[in-house]
């Protein structure tokens, strides 16, 4: 059995930033376990630019953003095991993993950072009628085929879902010579950034059909076409609007789900809205010594915020290992008010001496609204926003001075005022 102070599960942007921060805070013995063959996580296949504007102040591609952290890890003696799959975490922090060289690995950790990222919602979750012809894949899978493996998965493409990965792939396939016939979006608005709708669809004349979904796939060996239809206000397809579109590829960009099988096996509490762990302001779960950060905790809009969150988890884990964390935390749970879907962190230790930033997402589009933070019924902050959209993360800050005035019975509410 191996012994490490800190085991980090996942070597993407979250895992790397957490490991580096823990090292900076004085933790000597750290191991990062990564399932893929290289560090970097999903950034390796996100070759478009737009990463790092907040954190580095420059616009980078995904691999460039990851490379900055990989270079930092390589300068340390942080142990990295790639091609290594974590199978289980026990409730006394024993990590079981497997790879080709070591066989079965048992690693006893003092603290663990969960940074496994998220997974795309697959076809099975959509219940589309039709055969199992080849040519139906998630947008992320197609992205891997084109950007890492170097081949085109199809020539005539229909994309279901207007999340950013779908939009980015519409442009990528078009530039490589494919014909993207249409992007269908079930909701009456797109979940993607306006910039991506303009530069990935409008630039190439690709139509975006809102309130439209794919109801059937056709073809036996290879996909030959799909039937699309408009949906009513209850999101049910309207039969009279059915339309056949010839295509050999259907890409799905219909949402991301945090990958929390390991988390659930430990018995860690999961937030039903985020599908990630319930955490405090240092991203510690309800299991002492286990922290979570990045897309495994909640799906982020920008990697820059993943990095910042992972640094909190790395510091929290370091404090825990060094015995500097609060033995008797006093937690107050946050409450979602009007228009707010979830809060991360879900609870705050009021003994914390620093300002606490709470991230959240809204449930629908708001224009000219205010984001209000209330503590014990008093408005702490009220910020005007020209636009709030579900696709973008927002945040409020509880100042340290307000925290120190709170008690165990205090309340924290975040809401949107129209």
């Amino acid at each position: 059995m191996l012994n490490y102070d800190l085991v980090v599960v996942g070597g993407g942007p979250a895992g790397m930033a957490a490991a580096l921060k823990a090292r900076e805070c004085g933790i000597e013995s750290i191991i990062v376990l990564e399932r893929a063959e290289t560090l970097g996580g999903i950034l390796e296949q996100c070759i478009h630019t737009g990463f790092g504007l907040h954190y580095f102040g420059e616009e980078l591609s995904g691999p460039e953003y990851a490379a900055k952290f990989i270079a930092q890890i390589e300068k340390t003696d942080i142990v990295v095991k790639t091609d290594t799959m974590v199978l289980d975490i026990s409730d006394n922090n024993l990590v079981t993993a497997v790879n080709k060289n070591d066989g079965l690995l048992k690693i006893q950790a003092k603290a663990i950072v969960l940074a496994m990222g998220c997974r795309e919602r697959p076809r099975g979750a959509l219940e589309i009628a039709g055969t199992r012809a080849s040519g139906i894949m998630t947008a992320g899978t197609a992205q891997k085929y084109v950007n890492l493996d170097g081949y085109m998965p199809g020539k005539k493409v229909v994309i279901l879902g207007s999340g950013d990965i779908g939009l980015i792939m519409a442009r990528r396939m078009t530039l490589e010579g494919a014909e993207v016939k249409v992007v269908c979006e079930l909701m009456p608005y797109s979940g993607g950034l306006t910039r991506n709708i303009v530069q990935c669809l409008d630039d190439f004349g690709i139509p975006l059909r809102l309130s439209t979904t794919v109801v059937e796939t056709h073809g036996k060996e290879r996909l030959e076409g799909v039937t699309i239809a408009k949906v009513d206000e209850n999101l049910q397809p309207i039969d009279s609007t059915r339309e056949y579109i010839e295509c050999d590829t259907l890409m799905l960009s219909v949402g991301l789900i945090p990958e929390n099988e390991l988390t659930k096996n430990v018995g860690i509490g999961i937030d039903r809205i985020t599908s990630g762990a319930v955490v405090d302001e240092m991203r510690q779960t309800d299991h002492k010594g286990i922290f979570a950060c990045g897309n495994v905790l909640h799906v982020h809009d920008l990697v820059d915020y993943v990095t910042l969150e992972a640094q909190l988890a790395g510091k929290g884990a370091a404090d825990y290992i060094l015995g500097n964390s609060d033995e008797n935390p006093c937690y107050v749970n946050g409450t979602t008010g009007n228009g707010v879907r979830y809060l991360v962190p879900q609870r705050v230790n009021i003994n914390n001496k620093d300002d606490v930033k709470i991230y959240f997402r809204v449930g629908r589009v708001f224009k000219n609204a205010k984001v209000v933070l209330e503590v014990d019924g008093n408005v702490i902050s009220s910020k005007k926003k020209v636009k709030l959209a579900p696709g973008e993360m927002e945040n409020v800050v509880i100042p340290a001075a307000v925290l120190s005035s709170m008690t165990a019975d205090s309340s924290i509410v975040v809401r949107v005022e129209e």
Partner: protein
């Protein structure tokens, strides 16, 4: 002439209408700030885009390496640039930041590698 645009200067996404002739811009309407006006004018007179793609690698571990234009290129030259990029096979090893195509099609932009191979 008249063209409808969606502004990308901020997340608001204002619908902007531009009226213009071959020689000048007559009016910009629909924008709610100055950045919107500037965006609309550039989109009509000289639209440019950053281009990212991948290039074939010979003798490397991975079959392709990602690349980007180190500055934006004219929008109407995106497909011509793609043709150039797809005609290249770069020899391994490739280093991040390495220039793969210098001054692509005279645009002044270099195509550079964005990862190590």
């Amino acid at each position: 002439m008249k063209r409808d645009l969606t502004c990308v200067a901020c997340p608001l996404g204002c619908p902007i209408t531009v009226e213009y002739t071959d020689t000048e811009i007559i009016s910009v309407t629909g924008n709610t700030c100055k950045r919107g006006e500037a965006y609309a004018k550039t989109e009509i007179t000289n639209p440019t885009r950053s281009l990212t793609s991948s290039v074939k690698v010979c003798g490397g571990v991975l079959p392709v390496v990602p690349v980007k234009s180190d500055k934006p290129v004219p929008k109407d030259m995106l497909f011509d640039c793609m043709k150039e990029i797809n005609s290249v096979c770069v020899k391994a090893p490739v280093k991040i930041g390495q220039v793969i195509i210098e001054n692509i099609l005279g645009t002044g932009a270099n195509i550079v590698a964005t990862n190590n191979d």
